[in-house]
Structures are given as structure tokens and as C-alpha cells.
């Protein structure tokens, strides 16, 4: 028996020690580089311990339950590492190791470098809290850990607290998260009444024991409560506000794993606490997934702030994950546990994959930001020559997130497609039409994502630099490129080695749906991934990769054989790009990010409602403009149409509430007395 519990607790302890050491360093006002480095190494080691624990738990099928009493009713510090928890812990720890390595170099410069001690303190505390969220097995303890994640990540987001943008982004994140937590409390309390206990173990299948109306209410509360964290539309507005302003290693973890706590919560609720959800619930999740995926990528296309662009892509990928979950729920409702397992594997695998490549892309963006000193893509360009390694890793991430073979994004999207395809034959009546339509919209989403990452990579890294800072950018230090390299390797390995990753999901589908499906998903001596049966469809990323490399001999051979005349191959010369005969190509001739996405802005103008303004100053006549001022913006639909009226309403209500705030202590004592009396009456009522 592997010492899983010991490894796990040792990891927790190391996080806690590193957090305290960070606090001590802050109080001593030291910013010595070796302290920061060792704190980062400590969090990396702690994450490595957690990784060992989670991999051990998944492979050996070992679980543990570990409980400390708290002395309070209902609250127990119970920790449980079951397969679902172990899977999310694995994703967290893997990302945390790479981010910790990256942080060694990252914390030398920038805002976080001013107070590295307190930064490391919150950083380790956040990792600790995340570990607890994934393993807590008591409702109250879970919610405490949940809030601890919010608070620590809030402080990390506002590391640059002197900037107004960071403060307001952090505040929005805090407010939205609190709203979400409120819904979670209510939802969990409803479930706990049905279970008669606050322990997760007792709540297995509790959703089905609730009265249908209350069960539906609890489902909705929990879905939207976790949805705030996951960033489903229209609850997403905090993501593009908070992710860009945070230091990049924090954004990487926020996007890679913090928003996945929402996905973890949903998986726990959908597949553990609800034995059999009604059809509308699955449909709701599927539709929410499609909406988030499509709108997420469309808004991402309009961004030219590199980190905001990535933040919108997180919404898109959450949508893809929810498509998997939604189809899994529908299949379970219609009595197809095997197909449900296929769709659940698709969703969970995409959760892991998105964590890996989004983390990689945010780290890449962080290196670019330190190099080019701006988040605005319109001021970048040509960085592939100045930062070759960062560019290479970013390209791997870009190919992976676009779902292109043979990397990991393709594999999980392929499973999602297969789940949706199977849905047509497996469900009755009109729901069957929803599956292929969702599949077509997933195809649109993936193609738009590819367009967006052509833009993100092309404008940022290719051609000529568009600003002085971009010209002087230099490659990131070794530790930062090493952190990215680890994640890039994971992107390749999870793609090519998918047949070895998929069996890790076997205990999860066994636990949640009671079926083993990985035996069917892996075929052909471990070379093929199949969609249930090989007959339904199969793919082998490994063979595709090998074939791509092998077939490269064909064009090379053609070139060498057919091109061997009068020494032509030596005649390859470098020349200027065609500039219509004008004197010299400059960066001003290049296509910009705004121009790149213009056709899509026009095509989807019903959504974006783009506004543009052109002002020209003339010299003699209007044919001789001296200066032209161009402004283009799109309407933030959700902010103006949903959140602005909401904010206005809340402020108006608050204005009225002020009347009871007299400031006199006697009045407040009276309020407390009246409340107490009312509660007593309520309590003793027959």
C-alpha cells in the first residue's frame, strides 16, 4: 500500500511552512533572491508530493478518509481522496510544479518582485487552499476552503494594488465570487437536509431524495454557484477583468486550475450527489456549454490585449468541458451509462488538457509581457527572433488549444465530438437533434479558436516589431522557459500518449457512473483510441504524429530529386518583402490584430454592435490629410444590458437601506434585541 495519506499530508505541511516562511520574510522586509527562490522550490516540492499522492491514488485505486473533529456541530475537518478528487489534485499539482519553476525567474522582476515574501505567502496559501477544496469531504469545511481560495487569489490578483485597473478587477472578482458562494451555501444546505449529514459521503445520491421542486432548486443553485467560478456566460464578467491584471504566474494558475474548482464542484454535484438528474438539467448544462464556448471565442477574437484574449478562451474551453458534462447527464437520464462515461471522460480529459495548455499560454504571455513591457498585441511583433523559446512553447500551446492534431486538445475534442455523435442515436424525440447541432457549433468554436490563435501568435511573434520595447525584448531566463517547457511536453505527451492517460479515468467512471469504459476506449494493443467501439470511429494521435514525420520525406524527396538542376538549391537568397515598390516595408504596413479580426467583427456585428469613429485633419483640401484618428470599439453587451441595471438597482436599494443606519449604538442594540426575539419565536414555534 502506497503511503498516500502520508505523502498528501507532507505536501500540505510543506505548503503551510512555505506560506509561513513567506510571511516571515515579508515581516523582516527582506527581498533576497535566494529566499524567493527557495520558497518557489518549496511550493514545487510540495506540489510534487501531492502529485505522487494523486497519481498513486488513481493508479492503485487507493482512497483515504481522514477526519479531525472540530468541536463544533456539523463541522468536521474531513479529508477524502477518492478518484474524482485525485484527478483534480493531479491536474493542480502538475500545473503547480511548472508554475513554481517559472516563478523562480518571474519573481525577479515586475510588481511581485517588490514584495516577494508576501507574494509567496499567498501563493502557497492558495495552493494549500486549492488542495483542500479538492479533498474536503464536509460541506462546511469545503466552503471554508473555497472561501480561502477566493481570499488568497484576490490578494494575488491585486498584487499591483497601485493600479486602479487591478483594484477594480480584483473587487469584481471578489463580489462575483461571494455571490456564487451564497448560492452554494443554499444549495448545499438543501442537499444536506436530504442527506441528514454534512459529510459528502452521506450526500451521495442525496439530490434524488429531495422533493422534485427543492431538488431542482438545489441543482440550479449549485450549477450557477459553481458556474460563477467556472465562468459560464453570463456570469463570466469577472474573468476578463481579473485575469489580465494579476501577475502572469497567478493568471496561469487562475485560468489553469482555480476556475476548474467550479468544474470540480459541478462534477461532484452532477455525478456524485445527484444519482439521476432530470432531462432538463442535462439540456441546461449542454446549452450553457455551447453558449459559453461560442460567445467566449467570439469575444476573444475581438481582444488585442493578450491576457484578456486568453481569459476569454478560458470561458470557451469551460464551455467545451460543459458540453461533455451535459451530454453525460443526458445519457445517464436516458439510461446509457456507457455513453455517459464516454462523455464524462471527454469533459474531464478536456479539463486536464485545458489546464495544461492555458497555463502554458499564460506563462508565455507573462514572458512576453516582461520582454515587450505591454499587454497590447498591437505593440508587439517580431518576438520570435528575440524570444525564440518562448515563441516555440507558445506555438505548441496555440496548436493545442486550437484542437489541432496530434496534440492533447485534439484528443479531448475528438472524444467530445464522439459523445455528441452518439447522442443522435441514443436519445429519443427532439433532444437527439440538439446533439449534432451542438457538434456543429463546437466545430465553429474550434475553427474560430484557430483563427484567434493565428492572430495571437502571428501578431505577437511574427514579422516586424511594432514598438521600441518590442524591438529591445530579450528571452526570458532559463527557469521561466523551463517551466513552459514542462507544460509543452505535457501538451505533447497527453496528445501522443492519450491511450496511457485514458485508463486513469477508469476509477472515476466506476465511482460516479458504475461503469468501466476505458477498456473500450483504448483498442488495438494500446495504439488506438476508440469511440466506445472501433466500429464507431477510432483515432491514433501517435500514428498521426509518426505518419506526419514519416511523410515529411515525400516533399523533401520531391524537392531533392526534381529540384536537382543547375545547382538551383544554392540560389535561395534573402530579399525584402514586396511593398508595392514603396521605399522599405515598415511595421506600419503590417496587418494589426484589429484588422485581422475585422471580417468576423462585421459578420457577427449583430452580437458585437461595433462602433467606429474616424476623424481626419486636413491640410489644404480633404485629399491631403495631416492626421487621421481612428477609434473602434465593440459593445460589452452583458455589462451594459445585465450588470449595469443590476448595479443601479443595488445602489438604489442601498440608498434606501441607509435610513436604518443611524449610527447610534442604542438603535443597533435595539435591532439585535428585536432580531433575537423574532428568532426565539421562530425557534419555539410548534
Amino acid at each position: 500500500m502506497a503511503p498516500i495519506l502520508e505523502l498528501f499530508l507532507a505536501g500540505l505541511l510543506l505548503y503551510a511552512v512555505a506560506a509561513l516562511a513567506g510571511l516571515a520574510a515579508h515581516l523582516c522586509k527582506t527581498t533576497a533572491a535566494w529566499i524567493t527562490t527557495s520558497l518557489c522550490i518549496a511550493s514545487g516540492l510540495a506540489a510534487a508530493l501531492e502529485l505522487c499522492a494523486s497519481v498513486g491514488a488513481l493508479i492503485c485505486g487507493a482512497q483515504f478518509n481522514w477526519t479531525l473533529p472540530s468541536g463544533l456541530p456539523f463541522l468536521q475537518y474531513s479529508l477524502r481522496l477518492d478518484p474524482l478528487s485525485a484527478f483534480f489534485l493531479l491536474a493542480l499539482s502538475l500545473l503547480a510544479i511548472c508554475v513554481a519553476v517559472y516563478s523562480i525567474g518571474y519573481l525577479r522582476h515586475g510588481v511581485a518582485a517588490r514584495r516577494p515574501g508576501i507574494f509567496c505567502c499567498f501563493f502557497n496559501l492558495m495552493l494549500l487552499a486549492l488542495t483542500l477544496v479538492f479533498t474536503a469531504a464536509n460541506v462546511l469545511f469545503f466552503l471554508v476552503a473555497w472561501e480561502l481560495v477566493v481570499v488568497t487569489s484576490y490578494f494575488l490578483v491585486i498584487t499591483d494594488h497601485e493600479s486602479e485597473e487591478a483594484r477594480s478587477g480584483g473587487m469584481l472578482y471578489m463580489l462575483m465570487s461571494r455571490g456564487g458562494t451564497g448560492m452554494l451555501y443554499l444549495g448545499f444546505l438543501l442537499l444536506a437536509t436530504a442527506a441528514g449529514s454534512m459529510e459528502f459521503q452521506a450526500m451521495h445520491g442525496a439530490g434524488g431524495r429531495l422533493d422534485p421542486v427543492l431538488g431542482a432548486a438545489a441543482f440550479l443553485l449549485l450549477f450557477f454557484g459553481f458556474g460563477v467560478k467556472a465562468g459560464i456566460i453570463p456570469l463570466h464578467i469577472w474573468l476578463p477583468a481579473a485575469h489580465p491584471v494579476a501577475p502572469s504566474n497567478v493568471s496561469a494558475l487562475m485560468s489553469g486550475i482555480v476556475i476548474k474548482t467550479g468544474i470540480y464542484g459541478m462534477a461532484r454535484v452532477f455525478f456524485d450527489f445527484y444519482g439521476d438528474a432530470p432531462v432538463w438539467a442535462g439540456m441546461l448544462v449542454l446549452v450553457a456549454g455551447v453558449v459559453a464556448a461560442l460567445l467566449g471565442v467570439l469575444y476573444a477574437l475581438m481582444e488585442h490585449d493578450l491576457k484578456r484574449l486568453l481569459a476569454y478562451h478560458s470561458i470557451e474551453n469551460i464551455g467545451i468541458i460543459l458540453m461533455g458534462f451535459g451530454s453525460a447527464l443526458l445519457f445517464r437520464s436516458f439510461g446509457h451509462p456507457q455513453l455517459a462515461a464516454l462523455a464524462l471522460v471527454a469533459g474531464l480529459f478536456h479539463t486536464l488538457n485545458h489546464g495544461v495548455f492555458k497555463c502554458l499560454l499564460f506563462l508565455g504571455a507573462g514572458s512576453v509581457l516582461q520582454g515587450a513591457k505591454t499587454r497590447n498585441m498591437e505593440e508587439m511583433g517580431g518576438l520570435i527572433r528575440r524570444m525564440p523559446w518562448t515563441a516555440f512553447y507558445f506555438l505548441i500551446g496555440a496548436v493545442a488549444i486550437s484542437g489541432l492534431p496530434p496534440l492533447n486538445g485534439f484528443v479531448s475534442e475528438w472524444f467530445t465530438y464522439q459523445g455528441l455523435l452518439a447522442g443522435f442515436g441514443a436519445t429519443p424525440t427532439l433532444t437527439r437533434i440538439a446533439f449534432p447541432i451542438a457538434g456543429a457549433l463546437l466545430a465553429l468554436t474550434a475553427a474560430l479558436a484557430a483563427a484567434c490563435f493565428v492572430k495571437a501568435f502571428g501578431i505577437t511573434f511574427l514579422a516586424l516589431p511594432r514598438s521600441e520595447n518590442a524591438k529591445q525584448a530579450t528571452e526570458a531566463p532559463l527557469s521561466m522557459t523551463a517551466g513552459m517547457a514542462g507544460l509543452a511536453i505535457a501538451c505533447v505527451a497527453f496528445g501522443l500518449g492519450a491511450t496511457w492517460i485514458v485508463p486513469l479515468f477508469a476509477p472515476i467512471t466506476q465511482q460516479t457512473l458504475g461503469v468501466q469504459i476505458t477498456g473500450q476506449l483504448v483498442a488495438g494493443n494500446g495504439f488506438l483510441l476508440s469511440a466506445g467501439t472501433v466500429q464507431n470511429g477510432s483515432v491514433s494521435p501517435l500514428v498521426i504524429a509518426l505518419a506526419l514525420i514519416g511523410l515529411a520525406l515525400v516533399p523533401l524527396g520531391l524537392w531533392l530529386v526534381l529540384g536537382r538542376r543547375n545547382g538551383a538549391r544554392s540560389k535561395s537568397v534573402t530579399g525584402p518583402t514586396w511593398d508595392c515598390g514603396l521605399p522599405g516595408l515598415t511595421a506600419a504596413n503590417e496587418y494589426t490584430a484589429t484588422a485581422f479580426s475585422k471580417p468576423l467583427r462585421m459578420i457577427f456585428s449583430a452580437l458585437f454592435r461595433p462602433k467606429r469613429e474616424i476623424q481626419a485633419e486636413f491640410d489644404v483640401s480633404r485629399y491631403y490629410p495631416k492626421a487621421i484618428h481612428f477609434e473602434s470599439e465593440i459593445q460589452p453587451t452583458f455589462e451594459t444590458h445585465i450588470y449595469a441595471p443590476l448595479q443601479k438597482g443595488i445602489l438604489a436599494l442601498a440608498e434606501r437601506m441607509r435610513r436604518i443606519q443611524t449610527g447610534s449604538i442604542h438603535a443597533y442594540l435595539a435591532y439585535i434585541f428585536v432580531t433575537l426575539i423574532l428568532l426565539l419565536i421562530f425557534g419555539v414555534r410548534p
Binding site: 489541432l404 455523435l421 463546437l442 466545430a443 474550434a446 514579422a463 505518419a547
Partner: protein, 319 residues
């Protein structure tokens, strides 16, 4: 086991040679047909081969702004299209590598090639490259749902995304294309074919006018052997998509095995089907004018509606 693998390698080699040799012919045929309808003599049928041979032997000018992406692009594009062609049955219903990737892998391999081609366009730093990349990614993105939905209709009908299995399922029922769902899906895929291969009315492969070009704008800076590889890959992509249409919807003459006699007969059928489809494409090209860029989404919306109708009619008539 060894015999199995060597047979498979033979199939791969056969299909690679077939695709490499046949694709320029299809491009030449398309040009010739258009020229004849426009009462021009036009270049000969074999002109694309001569062009490729000449380009491969020429020197190159590489833009000084370009990075290794520019160099990698022709190879990535060529290889991805070539691999996509190995996933699809051409003259035998059994495609060489269809087990290792079905229609989804095929579509996404083409997307991988396009991803790099668009990056290659941006890498040069000229406005043309960016313009071409932007338009190419836009049009391919809005063509994607129609393509996928039509493909889904076919895959649902055959119960598989493996194109060999789809083709095998079709062999027994050659008249299946008369079913409404098949006809609608074919119409949708035909529009997608026009858009994806850059034909009039979506793009004009024969123009170098800034305002209208898409594909040509992206590859404006390529010359010599790299240009040859890109042109060849474009021809192969056209062949792949046309093969998808003819063999999935009209499985006449597909041989179920890889025996020489059966293959000869089915090669004849294959060429005939491709010829007829080329005539249809040429007919569309000569009877239409190029559309404004922002009218293209409407055309692709029609394709999407057609494939959605195909799906609904599958739902209605198959129960």
C-alpha cells in the same frame, strides 16, 4: 503480422503516388474546362505538372522579415494534406490509414495545414499576407459548421466516423444518394467544397488583385520550390475534398478489396466521377461572378441550413 504491415505500407505508397500524380491533373482539368467554356484555348491539361517541375528547379527569395515559420509552412501544409488523403478511400473502399483517424481527424489535419499557412502569410510582414490570412481563417471558420453537420449526417447514417466503414456501408446501396438527406448533405458539402478550395464565387485562384484575393495573398511571398509545394498541396486538398464528395455520396465502382483487377475497374469509375464533379465545379465557376467578401457568409449560411435540413430529414425518415 509482417505480411499485414507490409500490405499496409504498400497501400500507403500506392495511395501517396496516386494522390501526388492525380492532383495536378485535376487542377489542369479545371482550368481547361473553364477555358473551353469561355472559348479560350487555355493551357494544356498537363500544364500544372510543367509548372511544378519548373518551380521545383528554381531559386527562391525568402523575405528578410520571415522566421522559421515561413520555411516550415510549405512542409507542414504538404504533409498534413497528404496524410489527410490517406484517411479517405480513393479507389478501394479500404483507405490505407482510416483506422488511425476518421473524418474528424481528416478535417482537423486540413485545419492544421491551414493554421500554418495563415501564420506563413503573417510572417512576411506585408499587408497582403495578413489580409489573406485574416480572410482565409474567417471563411474557413464559417464554413466549418456546415461541413461538420453534413459530415455528421453521413457519419450518423453509417454509424461510424471511419471513412472506410462509411464507404463499405455504401457499396451495397449505390442508389442511396437519392434519399433526401443524402442529396441535401451533398449540396451543403458542394458549397463547402467551393469555399474551401477557393473557387469562384468565393475566391478566384487566377487573380492577383489586392481587393479580392485570399489564398493568393497569403502565399504572395513564396517562390520556387516552396511555392511548388504549396501549389501541390492546394491541388491535393482539392482532390481530397472532391474524393470525399464522390466516394461518400456516389460509391459506384468502389472495390471492396485491394486486388489488381478490381482496382483497375474502380480507378476508371473514380476518374469518371472526379471528371463529372469537376465539370460541375467549372460550371459554377463560369456562370458566377466573384462575390463580395461579406456576401460569402450568406452562401455558407445556405450550406449550413442545407446540412441542418439533411440532418432533420435523417431524423424524420430513419425514425
Amino acid at each position: 503480422m509482417i505480411a499485414n504491415i507490409s500490405a499496409q505500407i504498400l497501400q500507403v505508397v500506392f495511395q501517396v503516388v496516386l494522390v501526388l500524380l492525380l492532383s495536378p491533373l485535376l487542377t489542369g482539368l479545371n482550368r481547361l474546362l473553364k477555358a473551353r467554356v469561355q472559348t479560350r484555348r487555355g493551357p494544356g491539361l498537363l500544364q500544372p505538372y510543367r509548372d511544378l517541375y519548373k518551380l521545383l528547379g528554381k531559386g527562391m527569395v525568402i523575405p528578410d522579415t520571415a522566421s522559421w515559420i515561413f520555411t516550415a509552412t510549405p512542409f507542414v501544409l504538404f504533409v498534413t494534406v497528404l496524410l489527410a488523403s490517406l484517411l479517405i478511400p480513393t479507389i478501394s473502399a479500404q483507405a490505407p490509414l482510416s483506422l488511425y483517424g476518421g473524418v474528424l481527424a481528416m478535417v482537423y489535419l486540413l485545419a492544421l495545414g491551414r493554421f500554418f499557412l495563415a501564420l506563413g502569410g503573417l510572417d512576411t510582414g506585408s499587408s497582403f499576407g495578413g489580409l489573406g490570412s485574416s480572410r482565409e481563417m474567417t471563411i474557413s471558420a464559417i464554413a466549418e459548421p456546415a461541413l461538420m453537420l453534413a459530415v455528421f449526417t453521413v457519419a450518423i447514417g453509417a454509424g461510424s466516423t471511419n471513412l472506410s466503414i462509411v464507404a463499405h456501408a455504401g457499396i451495397g446501396q449505390s442508389w442511396r444518394f437519392l434519399a433526401p438527406s443524402q442529396m441535401l448533405a451533398f449540396a451543403a458539402l458542394f458549397i463547402v467544397l467551393i469555399a474551401e478550395t477557393g473557387r469562384i464565387p468565393v475566391d478566384n485562384p487566377a487573380t492577383h488583385l489586392e481587393l479580392t484575393m485570399i489564398h493568393e495573398a497569403m502565399i504572395l511571398e513564396y517562390s520556387g520550390p516552396y511555392l511548388a509545394l504549396i501549389e501541390w498541396a492546394a491541388s491535393m486538398k482539392q482532390l481530397v475534398l472532391m474524393t470525399l464528395l464522390v466516394n461518400v455520396f456516389f460509391p459506384f465502382g468502389l472495390s471492396a478489396s485491394w486486388t489488381p483487377t478490381a482496382l483497375t475497374a474502380s480507378l476508371g469509375w473514380f476518374l469518371l466521377k472526379l471528371f463529372l464533379l469537376s465539370v460541375a465545379v467549372a460550371a459554377v465557376e463560369v456562370t458566377n461572378a466573384k462575390m463580395r467578401l461579406f456576401r460569402v457568409p450568406e452562401l455558407l449560411a445556405i450550406a449550413f441550413v442545407l446540412s441542418a435540413l439533411a440532418l432533420v430529414s435523417t431524423f424524420l425518415f430513419q425514425g
